[in-house]
């Protein structure tokens, strides 16, 4: 018995020592972000500049991030949600108001993007990047590619296609194909979209975000629904991967940087937000992640070929047909109900 207690004491002391020593080190900034969405080099530079450590955890859908936060995950200092879910989080008092004096670089924010957002005054969020979804495909195998959401209905590539694991993105694709709005709250339209998705589902291998990226690079998948920057990143390495925005239009989403109310290091978080909006840093990040960051000064610093790439900056005609993803309030329940139905069958 004594030996057992001795062992127990030793182990507890050991573990306490380790945990204490770990935290007695430099300050740590905890980020909660999408994968492949932040240049690791810039993170390292930030760590050096501020003598701290940055730990990044990943999520692959706004819903799962929200569920984890709701379930009481504390300790994240900075999160990168999409605007519509950030609005929900703000309503639920999950976010900390921003101290503008600590983030002077937000003066570079593009006003025309800002005005489209719920938090146009940047009270609790600062825009990070503009994303839109589309179709990634293997240009060697899929020779009959049509820039249309209808690709997911083609039996030819059954089992080699995936769509995003996101209720809004999948429904949105179906809605757009049928000619409706991405943000539809019309029962008939949403039901029709649901039925279409059930048909498409028969051709899909799975609903996934990150697996799809790996899959299209490793040739497991031929056609995937994905975000523009992600697929551009892969396309740089693997020339057989191309991206295309469907002609029916798509949804524009703006991802934001927010500080949760339970953040342990809000000052460091503010520091990071300001750092990301420094024009040089911002431009470097844009080149890495291949997404547009709405910073006017940084936009001048990125290479012209990137600016001309329609997968980076949407062409005006497509922009016309696309909408910004909005929160649907109570109607969300209907979407979720149908989504569950689809995933269950």
């Amino acid at each position: 018995m004594k030996i057992l207690f001795k062992l127990l004491k030793m182990s507890l002391c050991l573990s306490l020592l380790l945990t204490v020593s770990c935290s007695a080190q430099k300050k740590t900034l905890y980020l909660y972000n999408w994968a492949d969405y932040l240049s690791p080099q810039l993170v390292k530079d930030f760590e050096e500049k501020n003598n701290c450590r940055v730990v990044i955890s990943y999520f692959d859908s706004n819903e799962s991030m929200y569920a984890k936060m709701k379930a009481g995950a504390q300790g994240y200092d900075l999160i990168f949600p999409t605007s519509y879910i950030a609005a929900v989080m703000a309503k639920q008092n999950m976010l900390m108001p921003l101290d503008k004096s600590k983030i002077p670089n937000v003066k570079y924010m593009m006003p025309d993007i800002l005005e489209k957002l719920e938090d146009s005054k940047m009270e609790y969020s600062v825009p990070y990047a503009v994303t839109f979804s589309g179709i990634g495909y293997n240009n060697e195998v899929v020779t009959d590619f049509k820039p249309s959401w209808g690709m997911f209905g083609s039996k030819k590539y059954a089992g080699r296609m995936t769509m995003l694991n996101d209720v809004r993105q999948t429904f949105g694709a179906a809605l757009k194909y049928l000619g409706y709005s991405f943000n539809s709250t019309n029962d008939k339209e949403v039901e029709a979209a649901r039925n279409l998705l059930m048909e498409w589902k028969k051709n899909l291998a799975s609903f996934t975000v990150d697996d799809a990226k790996l899959g299209i690079a490793s040739k497991d998948f031929m056609v995937i629904q994905g975000y523009n920057g992600d697929i551009l990143q892969i396309g740089k390495e693997k020339k057989y991967v191309s991206f295309s925005v469907p002609e029916e239009g798509t949804a524009l989403a703006v991802d934001l940087m927010v500080i949760p109310a339970s953040a342990k290091n809000p000052e460091l978080a503010h520091e990071f937000i300001n750092y990301m909006q420094d024009p040089e840093v911002c431009a470097q990040n844009m080149v890495f992640i291949n997404y547009l960051m709405p910073n006017t000064a940084a936009a001048k610093l990125i290479p012209q070929e990137l600016k001309d790439n329609p997968s980076f900056m949407m062409k005006p005609e497509v922009f016309q047909k696309s909408e910004v993803l909005r929160d649907l309030g109570d109607y969300n329940q209907t979407y979720i109900k149908y989504w569950n139905l689809i995933k269950a069958k």
Binding site: A67, A158, A205, D220, N340
Partner: protein, 292 residues
């Protein structure tokens, strides 16, 4: 006086573990049952007030498919595991001591290897661009259109692979204790090998078979990682529902309702086993006396 100190002793010895299990096992399980009776709002908050809605929702036809799938996948994989485990156990007990130990380690190692890695290993083997699929297509065993991954049969395969050691070990333990002179006696009395196998050996290791069955069936019922990783879009099982409702769907009460139902089913099965053991004890006693 002696009795009092004995009771005190007992309390001191059993208190730590009893308390811990009560706080971290009993109470959380009860709280799952309690939460399943509360409604949730669309923002994921658990509201006050009681409702049977969550349970009512479980009976929707769409979920019937998932329940059925969970049941048949678990049942079939259990049967396969037990059927495979019996000959393996039979072989092992007939072996030399050293070989027996060696085989035991060989079986335990996969059992203890990180479970995710084992699932990942199957994804590597069944990869659409991998050699296995190419060979099978060349040998005309499968058509070029079939994918080896993302269907319920792969889920079945990986579940069998994951839980087979759970079946082998208890069946082996029971077979090890089995008195083979009974088989000899049966042969002497003119029984064929098959008859002796089915009428004497199998009932003799029935406790091991029951243990093995439960040790595969119950975890299989609750599997969620396997269907998620290799199952694709149409292979969700109850475990996936629970995980999804908690981790993504902002509906913790509904997840709790599913969890409560699963919990009750499992407790029922365990309770059944307990009753069977008690009945068996009654049956064996007079039988043993006869033998002596």
């Amino acid at each position: 006086m002696k009795k009092l100190s004995k009771a005190v002793n007992e309390m001191i010895i059993s208190a730590p573990s009893l308390l811990w299990l009560t706080v971290f096992f009993l109470i959380p399980s009860v709280s799952v049952l309690l939460i399943s009776m509360h409604p949730a709002d669309q923002y994921g908050n658990i509201m006050s007030g009681f409702t049977a809605d969550n349970f009512r929702r479980l009976l929707e036809p769409v979920y019937m498919k998932i329940i059925w799938r969970t049941l048949w996948v678990s049942a079939v994989s259990t049967i396969i595991c037990v059927v495979l485990a019996i000959p393996v156990a039979y072989y092992m007990i007939a072996c030399k001591e050293s070989l027996k130990k060696c085989l035991l380690i060989l079986i335990i190692v996969p059992f203890w290897t990180n479970f995710l890695i084992r699932v990942f290993a199957w994804k590597a083997v069944l990869n659409p661009e991998g050699p296995l699929r190419h060979w099978l297509i060349q040998l005309h065993i499968i058509s070029p259109d079939t994918l080896l991954l993302y269907n319920p049969y792969v889920v079945l395969l990986v579940i069998v692979y994951t839980y087979l050691p759970f079946a082998i070990l208890p069946i082996f333990a029971a077979a090890d204790k089995f008195d083979f002179s009974l088989m000899e006696a049966a042969y002497d009395l003119g029984a064929t090998r098959t008859k002796a196998f089915f009428k004497i050996f199998l009932p003799g290791i029935s406790s091991g078979i029951t243990a093995g069955t439960l040790m595969v069936f119950i975890p299989a019922l609750g599997s969620y990682v396997i269907p998620e990783m290799v199952g694709g879009t149409s292979c969700d099982m109850v475990g996936n529902l629970i995980a999804e409702r908690v981790l993504v769907g902002r509906n913790i009460p509904e997840a709790s309702a599913w969890a409560s139902v699963l919990l009750l089913v499992i407790l029922g099965l365990l309770g059944l086993r307990l009753t069977v053991i008690i009945i068996n004890n009654f049956r064996l006693k007079p039988w043993n006396n006869e033998k002596v």
